[in-house]
């Protein structure tokens, strides 16, 4: 337990260090190394870089937390925050805003799309007051496909807005402002509230029936976790689009390092997810022209994930 506590403290220090380092790095230069201490540089640091850095940290933390919950709920380390149609719902919402409202309110519609998709999946899966997990999973896949079909149709007929939709789909922080950060701060209490369910999530690793026998109110647990995690995912998608791999890899990686106990896994994954996305975004904005951060996370995330899988099979 003490070792785990130390690990969390170290991770926290790493978060602070990452914020400092990543705020300092940028195409316009680094403080003391070419970036003058004038007003322009202070705007670059505090109005351009810092909000972006903090937003990336928050979104990364949120996606990782939602990923932990989804993997715990589905007892499957292949689950990710977008499993229940959230990303397709969010994408469709954003695309509607871009096509029909010239991009206005696109983050509101993205958030609404995420939540709506989750509730749709939830509503369809409900059977006599219960939501069987397998049903939820399959419905999630079906609803995702259905929403993607509508999205594809929109994109096909979008004409000039196609490029904009496409950029949104890949995800990124290029337009991030302090306003996004204020919204994103909601991710922190929401993710931390998941800690209240960490013992129950641990027990859930043995399946619904075992969890029920051990006294867990499984239907309440599923509802609460789905609600909170879709709220978090909705915020993350609204701020930065659907960025892949952070929610999938981070919980996986942290489980390898500190074990599956959600009391530690959840905060550790939040911090690690924040750091991972922060560095991905820093790479995305410094590597030549701005590249979508979703490309970076997938480009590095996928091979890394394969490596993890290989290692696990060898054991």
């Amino acid at each position: 337990m003490q070792k785990r506590g130390l690990f969390l403290v170290l991770l926290f220090l790493a978060v602070v260090a990452s914020v400092l380092v990543c705020t300092a790095i940028g195409p316009a230069g680094t403080p003391f190394l070419g970036l003058a201490g004038d007003e322009t540089s202070s705007i670059i640091l505090f109005s351009v870089r810092l909000p972006r850095v903090i937003a990336a940290l928050l979104v990364g933390a949120g996606l990782a937390a939602a990923g932990v919950v989804m993997q715990g709920l589905f007892r499957n380390s292949m689950a990710d925050p977008y499993l229940l149609g959230t990303s397709s719902g969010g994408a469709l919402g954003a695309a509607i805003a871009i096509v029909f409202l010239a991009g206005a309110f696109h983050w509101v519609l993205a958030f609404a799309g995420c939540i709506a998709a989750t509730f749709l999946v939830y509503g369809i899966s409900r059977k006599g007051g219960r939501i069987p997990v397998e049903q939820l999973l399959l419905t999630g896949i079906a609803v995702s496909m259905f929403l993607s079909a509508i999205l594809s149709f929109l994109m096909y007929t979008a004409g000039k807005s196609l490029h904009q939709i496409f950029l949104w789909l890949m995800g990124g922080f290029w337009s991030t402002s302090w306003n996004d950060v204020w919204i994103g701060l909601l991710i922190v209490p929401a993710s931390l509230s998941l800690l209240l369910f960490s013992r129950e999530l641990n027990i859930f690793a043995f399946g619904e029936e075992d969890a029920f026998h051990l006294g867990v109110d499984i239907e309440f647990l599923k509802k609460a976790l789905l609600l909170v995690s879709s709220f978090i995912t909705g915020l993350a998608v609204a701020i930065a689009g659907s960025i892949g791999f952070i929610g999938l890899i981070t919980p996986h990686l942290m489980r390898l390092v500190i074990g599956p106990d959600h009391r530690v896994l959840l905060p550790a994954s939040m911090m690690a997810g924040g750091i991972l996305l922060l560095f991905s975004d820093t790479l995305a904005r410094t590597a030549g022209n701005e590249i979508p951060v979703g490309v970076v996370t997938a480009f590095f995330g996928a091979p890394f994930f394969i490596l993890l899988l290989k290692r696990r099979y060898r054991q």
Binding site: R75, N202, A205, F206, G207, L214, G215, P260
Partner: protein, 417 residues
């Protein structure tokens, strides 16, 4: 205390339980047996509230099962399922500690008393040495014991076990079942068993399910009868009494090959239990077997009766009568082979040898399973020994094993030298 009143359960149109009523409580180890699909597991699922009954009432301590919150229920009842699939790499200790959740809840810290309880639970199930191992890196039998320890950590008043020994080896099965038996002095234990002999050996009472309803319920010796088992499982068995425990012991009887009897009549002269295996083997091989003369308090007599083998008998402790000797002589006239077990001979049963001596049968096989060197076996003043020597001299075949006796019978009947 648990009570079921007229519980019925269906999955849509398919009825899974009908008219199930029983009570059980602290101090009882109740076994549930029955063929696959008879509703055993469903019964446990109904009691543990995984599937709601469509009719009837289930009461725990006189309270309707539905009135308990999930946390309250988990303090009353623990369940060991048939199979467990841990989703992640928790350590054995972590998993057993999960059994404390009903008492700890979401937020309370684990106290020393919790640690003491799980230490005892791990000790009882013999998994202490695995404490720090991952539950995904241990064997199926070890995992099963971890889950039993987790159930014990719940400190339930009712423990439900669904085939608790399915993945265990013989030694582990015994130690777990003994532990459960011990536990059933303080709480109610209800276990589903596949193995009828374990149910017979450990349970105070047994419910035999057949066709989704209770076919029989009561003490093992009353429930596990040849007829009940034939009805429920569709097989013929031999039910004997374990001489040490008085509990029934069930052994299945193999049916004749192709279900048809072979030609050939075999008579068995035996006694003292030495002929039982032989009787089973010969009737399984499909011969028309007869036996006797036997005293009705001989265990070979009970075996013959159970197998439906015609048997000439005498009242307890009575010598072979002239009437029985005549009967035996008549049977031997029709018999191809006689198998004689070389047991103990005295004034009571020497009559058998006298009849055999003058009978005209195709062959005689003498089964001598025990090496009796130096041990007294002839209590007839040498008469029995003389007759046996005479039979031996006239071509009776001596064998040591039941299987060789049956092979010898086959050779004689088929005329192979």
């Amino acid at each position: 205390m648990i009570e079921l009143r007229d519980v019925e359960l269906d999955y849509g149109a398919r009825v899974v339980l009908k008219q199930v009523s029983f009570m059980s409580g602290r101090g009882e180890f109740l076994g549930v047996i029955g063929p696959n699909g008879s509703g055993k597991t469903t019964l446990l699922k109904a009691i543990s509230r995984i599937v709601p009954p469509s009719n009837g009432i289930i009461l725990i301590n006189d309270q309707a099962l539905g009135n308990f919150s999930s946390l309250e229920l988990s303090r009353e009842m623990a369940v060991v399922p048939q199979a467990t699939d841990p989703g992640f790499d928790f350590t054995v200790r972590d998993v057993v500690m999960m059994g404390r959740y009903p008492h700890i809840g979401s937020f309370r810290r684990e106290r020393d008393e919790d640690r003491e309880i799980i230490r005892k639970a791990m000790d009882t199930t013999g998994i202490t040495h695995l404490s720090d191992r991952s539950v995904r890196a241990i064997s199926g039998g070890e995992l099963q014991r971890v889950i039993i320890a987790r159930a014990l950590a719940q400190q339930p008043r009712i423990l439900l076990l669904d085939e608790p020994t399915a993945h265990l080896d013989l030694g582990q099965q015994m130690s777990i079942l003994h532990a459960m038996k011990e536990l059933s002095r303080q709480i109610a234990v209800i276990g589903v068993f596949h193995d009828l002999n374990y149910a017979a050996h450990f349970c105070d009472r047994i419910i035999l399910l057949h066709d989704h309803r209770i076919l029989a319920m009561g003490r093992p010796e009353d429930v596990l009868t040849q007829d009940a088992i034939r009805t429920a499982f569709g097989i013929d068995v031999m039910v004997r009494k374990n001489p040490f425990t008085g509990r029934p012991v069930i052994s299945p009887l193999t049916k004749p090959e192709n279900g048809r009897s072979k030609g050939g009549r075999v008579h068995v002269i035996c006694g003292g239990g030495e002929g039982s295996d032989l009787l089973v083997g010969l009737s399984a091989a499909g011969y028309q077997v007869t036996a006797g003369v036997l005293s009705v308090n001989d265990s070979d007599y009970r075996t013959a009766r159970m197998l439906g083998i015609p048997c000439i008998s005498e009242p307890p402790f009575s010598p072979v009568s002239a009437g029985s000797m005549g009967e035996l002589a008549l049977i031997l006239d029709e018999t191809n082979v006689v198998v004689l077990t070389r047991g103990l001979w005295g004034a009571g049963n020497i009559g058998n040898l006298h009849v055999l001596e003058s009978a005209k049968v195709r062959g005689i096989v003498i089964l001598d399973s025990h090496a009796r060197d130096g041990e007294e076996w002839d209590f007839t003043g040498g008469k029995a020994a003389a007759i046996l020597d005479g039979l031996g001299a006239n071509g009776a075949i001596p064998v040591r094993e039941v299987s060789s006796a049956i092979a010898a019978v086959a050779r004689i009947i088929e005329g192979v030298p």
